[in-house]
């Protein structure tokens, strides 16, 4: 008996899971793979910065002053004679950290909120989503600036503030998905055998909304990083001695006429990373949801 079923299994085509399938599609997308590769590269460098940075973060060489790129300082030095490559590496740590942590905050709030609203349905859902509608209408950028002004430029607050803005769309996406999944027979089956709603949401619903969530997360990270850079540029985000790409760009602007490399290199680091994230996000959308058009 067992040999028969084994031979049947051999004859059957090998099952392709959604994830295998998506990965195959993603691998064919050169831009997305470039994005993934570039991000891994930047991520590893930023992780290892304290060990591989060519110079110390605060190490100055005042005698050198601002110098253009050279063999010793690949990306030149700033007006204090500090190595730009080192500063961009440390700045990248902060920029990426803000991007990932604030997105994680948005992810947790948005997915929970959306899943609960979608699962509960009815009045609860109506009230919860109306609240989201109202919050959509609020001019958050102005509020974030206000928060930063009023409560000081606190990194934790920055994460919370940015996360608080970005969860809305996530909640909408998850809610829509959960709402349609909830009608499925397997969920009804789970309800009928008396599983707790929290378990149904966590075990049966969330794994199935993972696709759109991953796609939207990848696209949220660059917008969060832009927001951080924007605030830091205005002097309302990351404060010295800490640094981020946005802050480095704002320093670069002050001296761009004499020392353009101080603007161009941090600008390049930020733009290329945002590029890579967007390419990867678009690629993931095509891979995970072949029906969705790329816009």
């Amino acid at each position: 008996m067992s040999t028969v079923s084994a031979s049947i299994q051999e004859q059957m085509p090998k099952g392709v899971s959604l994830w295998d399938d998506a990965w195959t599609r993603l691998k064919k997308n050169k831009l997305a793979m470039f994005g993934l590769g570039f991000l891994l590269f930047v991520g590893v460098i930023c992780l290892l910065t304290p060990w591989i940075a060519p110079y110390g973060y605060e190490a100055q060489n005042l005698r050198l002053g601002a110098s253009p790129p050279s063999a010793e300082h690949w990306l030149g030095t700033d007006t204090f004679g500090r190595d730009m490559l080192t500063r961009i590496m440390y700045g990248g740590r902060v920029s990426l950290m803000v991007g990932f942590i604030a997105t994680a905050v948005a992810l947790v709030i948005g997915v929970t909120y959306g899943a609960v609203a979608g699962y509960a349905g009815g009045k609860v859902d109506a009230v919860m989503m109306r609240l989201v509608d109202i919050m959509y209408a609020l001019p958050f950028m102005i509020f974030i600036i206000l928060l930063m002004v009023v409560f000081g430029r606190n990194l934790l607050l920055l994460f919370l503030a940015i996360g608080a803005v970005e969860w809305l769309t996530m909640a909408r996406i998850v809610r829509g998905q959960v709402q349609s999944l909830r009608q499925m027979e397997y969920v009804e089956a789970a309800i009928s055998i008396g599983q707790a709603p929290s378990r149904i949401i966590a075990k049966h619903l969330l794994p199935n909304v993972l696709g759109p969530v991953i796609v939207y997360t990848t696209l949220t990270i660059p917008s969060v990083m832009l927001l951080e850079a924007f605030l830091s540029f205005l002097g309302l985000g990351i404060q010295p001695p800490q640094s981020s790409w946005g802050l480095l760009i704002s320093y670069g602007v002050e001296t761009m006429e004499e020392y353009p490399w101080l603007l161009i290199f941090p600008g390049l680091a930020l733009t290329l990373t945002l590029f890579a994230l967007n390419f990867l996000g678009d690629g993931l959308r095509d891979a995970l949801d072949p029906k969705a058009s790329r816009d």
Partner: protein, 310 residues
């Protein structure tokens, strides 16, 4: 339709009120009063100052007073510019910001829809890839990087355009408008491309072609109306983004607009000014969202019913 507009307008009122309330209490909750300076002020002077600006009243009374003043259009005196009111400062900056935003919006809509429609006419060819790659650059290049780079190239190196200013020398409005408009041109290009592609595969377009209409009429009369809907819905959020973007652009180009006042007020901790500008800008944004929703609903009846059924 009337029901939609009425409902949607009624919905905007609590939002505006919420914005003003949150802003008011946030600003009041800020550590350090508006007059805490390095110089120690004697308690009597402090009390006199607080009495003059009615800061000695209970919080709720200050709040209702503020609301009552707001209804009369009075946003109070500026804390940092003695003798000048917030209204005065706002209406001094508003025309400048409005002009900048208007040019930027024109650039964004014109270039964006042109590029998007152009790309959608021949999808997955060079005619599609080139504008869409440029759009990706526009989205990834923040305005605070694009602006300085444009200044570096066109003003400092080429010497064609002024480095900064607004209306002081010829051509000084060009770079700020481009800087502010580019990001939105990029978003609009992507939106109009996908909107057009979606519409192009619809049956009613096949019908239009089948009855022998020339291609330009099919595109301009039938496809554009549906294809550009996403762009119209995007204009509301884009307007909010333009205002926030004007903070940066006005700072870079030293333009005396609202955005620059706001950033300065933020740094000076000029609380009435922050409160007034926030309330003003927020109301403007909410109203613009309202307007873009109404226009979108006028063009797309389905949106109306969706709303009415809720």
């Amino acid at each position: 339709m009337f029901r939609f507009i009425a409902l949607r307008t009624l919905q905007a009122i609590p939002v505006i009120l919420a914005v003003i309330t949150v802003t008011f209490f946030l600003v009041r909750a800020a550590p350090g009063g508006p007059f805490s300076t390095e110089k120690a002020v004697s308690p009597q002077v402090q009390a006199a100052l607080e009495a003059q600006y009615q800061l000695d009243l209970p919080m709720h009374q200050q709040y209702f007073n503020y609301l009552a003043d707001l209804l009369k259009g009075d946003m109070g005196p500026s804390f940092k510019y003695p003798g000048r009111s917030v209204d005065e400062l706002i209406f001094q900056g508003l025309p400048v910001t409005a002009e900048l935003g208007f040019y930027a919006l024109i650039i964004a809509v014109l270039i964006g829809t042109l590029a998007g429609v152009f790309a959608a006419l021949k999808p997955n060819t060079a005619q599609d890839y080139v504008p869409m790659s440029l759009a990706m650059v526009g989205i990834c290049m923040p305005s605070f990087l694009l602006g300085p780079l444009l200044v570096l190239v066109f003003s400092m190196w080429a010497g064609w355009l002024p480095v900064s200013g607004w209306g002081a020398s010829p051509g000084d409005k060009i770079l700020p408008s481009i800087t502010l408009g580019t990001t939105y041109a990029a978003y609009i290009a992507r939106l109009s491309r996908s909107g057009m592609l979606e519409v192009m595969s619809q049956d009613y377009l096949r019908t239009a072609r089948a009855k022998g209409l020339p291609e330009h009429i099919v595109i301009f009369r039938h496809a554009l109306r549906g294809g550009l809907l996403p762009v119209i819905s995007f204009l509301g959020p884009a307007f909010a983004g333009l205002l926030a973007g004007s903070f940066v652009v006005e700072t870079i180009f030293q333009i005396p607009g609202l955005g620059r006042f706001y950033v300065q007020a933020a740094f000076n901790r000029d609380y009435t000014m922050i409160l007034g500008t926030t309330a003003f800008l927020a109301t403007l944004i909410v109203l613009f969202n309202l307007l873009s929703d109404i226009v979108a609903a006028l063009l797309n009846p389905r949106l109306r019913y969706q709303f009415g059924s809720k």
